[in-house]
Structures are given as structure tokens and as C-alpha cells.
Symmetry: C2
Subunit: 340 residues, 2 copies
């Protein structure tokens, strides 16, 4: 009998997740019942939002239950089907979670055409991270030609797309990333106008030099020290789409309610717009996103980089690394081969 | 020779303005040159934004120079004219400032028809404060029927209009004001659904009771403790138009840049929109505002209250009181009689 594996959450992490917060379980591969399909995971996407699912504080989504399989977007192959809409060999996008095999009734699955792009892009540049970048930048950031757009985690899945779309829209793109290699990649390969190292003790003054006309759009996906460096440079009528705050996901205590009078004063005098969103708020833009982004990727105007760890067992450590910026590009777990 | 008076700024206030920051000067009434008109001030509007003009920190408008006449919106009568567009007896809206007489070349003056409404409304419910309420609520707050709108300084010029427009739009209106008399007025006269006293030590829990479905729109015109009570009650997709922060105008030091990670986390998970604005950003909506608001005032659907002090000499003390909430209604200074 085939063996399956899954990663379950055994304790809610306090601060940084650690290996003992997860357990890798072996189990029998399930058999599809009527209407069901059996899926074999090929790619598991790891994304910062998963840290939120490990905690039971208030958020926009329910937490993973203790003992439950960790959630996550996946690219899978149908290996057995009792569902008339799906046949063995179909490649599908789903949220099968951190496991090698899963049953599905076929609802919510999206078939992927492997002829269009590498199938891993369905959880990357052509999937949730790409659409987060696209909708947040286009719908909230609204960059105009000549404006300055700043994004952190600029070599990552979301940040890399943000800066490249900003360039397509005629804006200047300034990235922030961790270390020289990432910064070089962002400037040379992705074509950002500049990229600064967030570890640089002079980040604030270098950012000011790099954004000599101020900042019109700050795509917020990290928070913390980067936000502090960015905030004073925001121009009047700047827009701050907020899709993530990875610097704070491991915070163990809510800061006291010092509602930052000086921040609100800037919101007022500069007429800033600060707007939180999650990608599903813009589900109606999916077709526009896929049309534009597929085109840009096909033309080489949007590039992407993947950072792959091997085997489901690597998922917990890879996720812990993701929260620290150890990845260089879109974090993926190679759970199974493309073909067996 | 007629004597004129003016109030000039002699020192930039540190913290709360005090009487010695101003000087009342007497001077000769000027004579209009070619193309000019001589204006006699009838009403001077006092508004919280003026505190900003007394400081030289960064803001959206230049400060009043030391020795300069304090700025302010006025309703005046033309008492001498060498300008073909204006005749003696015309009543005009302008920014003549804190003085009894002023010369103007006629540019930027708006003639007021005294037959439509009391002329003081041109600096109140049908003027800048009314339009601030209207545009901020309609353009940014966008209240929907059944939603809950909260506004502080609810008996004041802006807050009273915000709540009444919210009711016209079918929303629930909850006000916050200083003291029982103001709260009673807001509920009984203005028709808000509820009004809480910001001095109540149980403000946070009472606000939670009053807003049992949470808060969908918080019209921010005060900041401080009210914002802290409001913030945890904001619903997903809440909107926070920010037009003022009167609680902070006397702050003497910028708070350290603790950018309120917990606040930003809420912006994200609740997909809040926090947007600063000043009324002139929506200048294009002036005709809509005047049409709607004149109609509502005429039908008695929007009421307003004026709080008048007598004589230009009263302006500094009245302004100091305004920052402390000593006024009850739109603060006006009666500088001269309607007719001489």
C-alpha cells in the first residue's frame, strides 16, 4: 500500500515557529469515493500568510485546528478519479495543504494547462502572489508615469512582481531586499531602478537619496523598520496598499495602543490613503490579471524566480526560513515529481 | 478717521495658544485703490485648522508670518468699491482674516445672497465646515443604509453635519461630544441615534454598546482617546476619513516613531481604508454640496447651531476655548453688525 505523508500543526507557535510546532505523519493513501478524485501533490506553495493560520487571534480567516493539516496552495496531479469532470493525469490548482496526497470532490479545483507556462507558476507569478501584487498596485497604488513606487521583499514573489508592474506602468521602482545578491538581482535581472539592503544601517538616508522626489506608492508587505524608513518620505496623496506585515507576524504581544499621533498627523496633512486588502477582495479582477500577467511573462517583461526545497519533510524548516528572508525568490516545496 | 482693528500673531504658541501669542492692533481704515473694494467684517469664522497656521512645522499650508494678521474665513459687507463687479452693500464670503476691515481686489470673493439663508451659514453649514462633512462622508466614508457612522465633536460645525448626513443616507449615527448638554442636543435636536460623553471614564465600553454591530465609518476629526476607543470597534472594510486631529494640535513633541504595529495589523486584517483629506481636495464637488445641503437645511433635515462671541477682541480667547471644546456649536465672532 502506498504511503502518504502530511504535516500537521501540533502547537500554536509563540513568536517564531519551531520544528516542534509541527509533526510529520505517515498514513495510508486514501481511496476516492463516488465523485471524488485522488490528488498527488507536485508543488506546495509556502507563503507568509500561513503564519497567521497558526495563531488563533482575530484575523480574516479561521486558524488551522490543532492536529489539522497545515493549509496551503498546491499544484497536483489527478492520479485516480471517480469524478466525470477530471481524468487521471489532469494537473490542477487547489489548496490541498502540506501533504503528499489529498481527496477532493472536484469543487474549487482549477485545471492548469501545462502548455502555457511551467505549472509551478500557478502558485507564483500567475497565481495568488502575482495577483496580490497586481491588484494591490493597480487598484490601490495606482502608480502614474514618473511616480516613485517602493516595495520591500523585492526579490520575493509579491515584491518582484510589484516593481516590474510599476515599471510597465511607467513609474520608477525602488526595491528593498536582504543582502547584496538579492539587491543585485532586483536591479540587474528585474530592472528596478534601485534596490537597497534593509540590513544597511543607513537605510533611511539611502532610501531618501534613492527616492529624491519622495515616495508616491509604498506597497506594504513587511512593516517594521522598512515602514519607519519609508513613512517620512511619503509624498502628498501617497497610497499605501497593505497586503502583509511579515516583520510583525511573530510579534508575541500587541504593542500598547499608542495610535501614533504623528502617523495620523501625516495621514491628514499629506492626505495619505492607507488601505488594507487581501487578494480575494479583488476576485473580480482575476481575468484581467491573468490576461495581463500571462502576456507580460510571455514577453519577458515580468520575470520570476523560484526557491525550491525538496520533499514535504522540508516544509516546516522552509517556512521558518521564509519568515526570516532565507528564501531568494518564490518559496516552493517540491513534494513530488512532475511525472511518475 | 475711522479706526480699524486687527489681530496679529506675535509668537508661535508652544502647546496651547495663550493670549500673549496675539496682539490686537488699531490702525486706520484703508482706502481702496483702483479696482479695489473696502470690506467691513460682519462674521469671522474660527476653526481648528487655524492652530496649524500658527506653527511653522510641515503642513499643507504656509503658516501665518510673525506679525501677520491671523487668517480666517469671513462674511463681509462691501462699504466702498472701485471695482466694477462689486457695489456698496454687497455681502461677500472671503478670507479677510481676524480684522474689522480689509481691502480686496475682488478676486476670490463670493457674493452671498442674504435671501437664501442667514449670511453666517456661508462660513458654517453651507460653507467650509459643511462641505468638509459632506465630501469626507460621501466621498470617503460612503455610508450605506444600516451601517454605523461615528463622529466626534458631534455638536460642532463639522460633526453635526456628518451625523445628520449619515442619517439622510440611511445609516445609524452615533456621536461623541463633551458633556450632557451637548449630548442631549445631538440626540434630541439633531436626531443622532446615540451620543456619548467623551469625558465618561467608561467611554470605550459604552461606545461598544452603542455600536453593537461595530463601526463602519469613523469620521476622524479629533484623534486621541476617542480614536483609541473607536479603533478596536472598526468592522472589516471600515472607512476612516481623516479631516482633523484637534486632540493633537497642541502636542509639543512628535511621538517617537512607534508606527503602531497593532494598528497596521488591523488595517490589514480588516482591510481598513484610512484616508486623509482637506476640503479643497474636493473642490469639484462644490455645486453638489451646495445643492444638497441647501435643500436639506431648507427642509429642516440638517440643523445647525452657532456659538457667537462678540467683537474682534474676543477672537483669541474664543479660539483658545475652541481647542478645548468650550464652544457649543459653530464658533463665530460677531465682528460687526449686519447693517450700519
Amino acid at each position: 500500500m502506498l504511503q502518504a505523508k502530511r504535516v500537521v500543526l501540533v502547537t500554536r507557535p509563540i513568536g517564531e515557529p519551531k520544528a516542534s510546532d509541527f509533526r510529520i505523519e505517515e498514513c495510508a493513501v486514501p481511496t476516492p469515493g463516488p465523485g471524488q478524485v485522488l490528488l498527488r501533490t507536485i508543488w506546495l506553495s509556502l507563503d507568509p500568510y500561513m503564519r497567521g493560520r497558526m495563531s488563533d487571534g482575530p484575523s480574516y480567516a479561521a486558524p488551522v485546528p490543532i492536529g489539522g493539516v497545515m493549509e496551503g496552495g498546491t499544484v497536483s496531479e489527478v492520479i485516480a478519479s471517480s469524478n466525470p469532470d477530471l481524468v487521471k493525469g489532469d494537473i490542477v490548482l487547489w489548496r490541498a495543504g502540506w501533504q503528499t496526497h489529498a481527496l477532493s470532490d472536484g469543487k474549487g479545483l482549477t485545471k492548469i494547462d501545462p502548455g502555457i507556462a511551467p505549472i509551478s507558476t500557478a502558485v507564483g507569478v500567475l497565481g495568488m502572489p502575482g495577483m496580490t501584487a497586481y491588484t494591490g498596485l493597480v487598484e490601490i497604488g495606482k502608480p502614474r508615469p514618473g511616480e516613485t513606487v517602493v516595495v520591500a521583499a523585492a526579490s520575493g514573489a509579491v515584491g518582484s512582481a510589484v516593481g516590474q508592474i510599476a515599471k510597465i506602468k511607467g513609474a520608477r521602482a525602488v526595491g528593498i531586499a536582504g543582502g547584496k545578491d538579492k539587491c543585485d538581482y532586483v536591479k540587474r535581472e528585474l530592472g528596478f531602478d534601485d534596490c537597497l539592503d534593509h540590513r544597511d544601517p543607513d537605510l533611511a538616508s539611502k532610501l531618501k537619496d534613492a527616492c529624491w522626489k519622495g515616495i508616491d506608492v509604498y506597497f506594504e508587505n513587511v512593516g517594521g523598520a522598512v515602514f519607519e524608513a519609508v513613512f517620512p518620505l511619503l509624498n502628498a496623496f501617497a497610497r499605501v496598499p497593505v497586503c502583509g506585515l511579515i516583520a510583525h507576524y511573530n510579534d508575541t504581544e500587541a504593542k500598547p495602543p499608542k495610535w501614533a499621533a504623528s502617523m495620523m498627523r501625516a495621514v491628514l496633512t499629506k492626505r495619505l490613503t492607507i488601505r488594507g486588502f487581501i487578494v480575494s477582495d479583488f476576485a473580480a479582477r482575476q481575468a484581467d490579471f491573468l490576461r495581463d500577467m500571462s502576456g507580460w511573462v510571455g514577453e519577458g517583461r515580468v520575470k520570476y524566480k523560484e526557491f525550491v526545497t525538496e520533499g514535504l519533510d522540508s516544509a516546516p524548516a522552509a517556512f521558518m526560513g521564509l519568515l526570516k528572508g532565507a528564501n531568494f525568490g518564490k518559496q516552493l516545496v517540491r513534494v513530488g515529481p512532475d511525472k511518475v
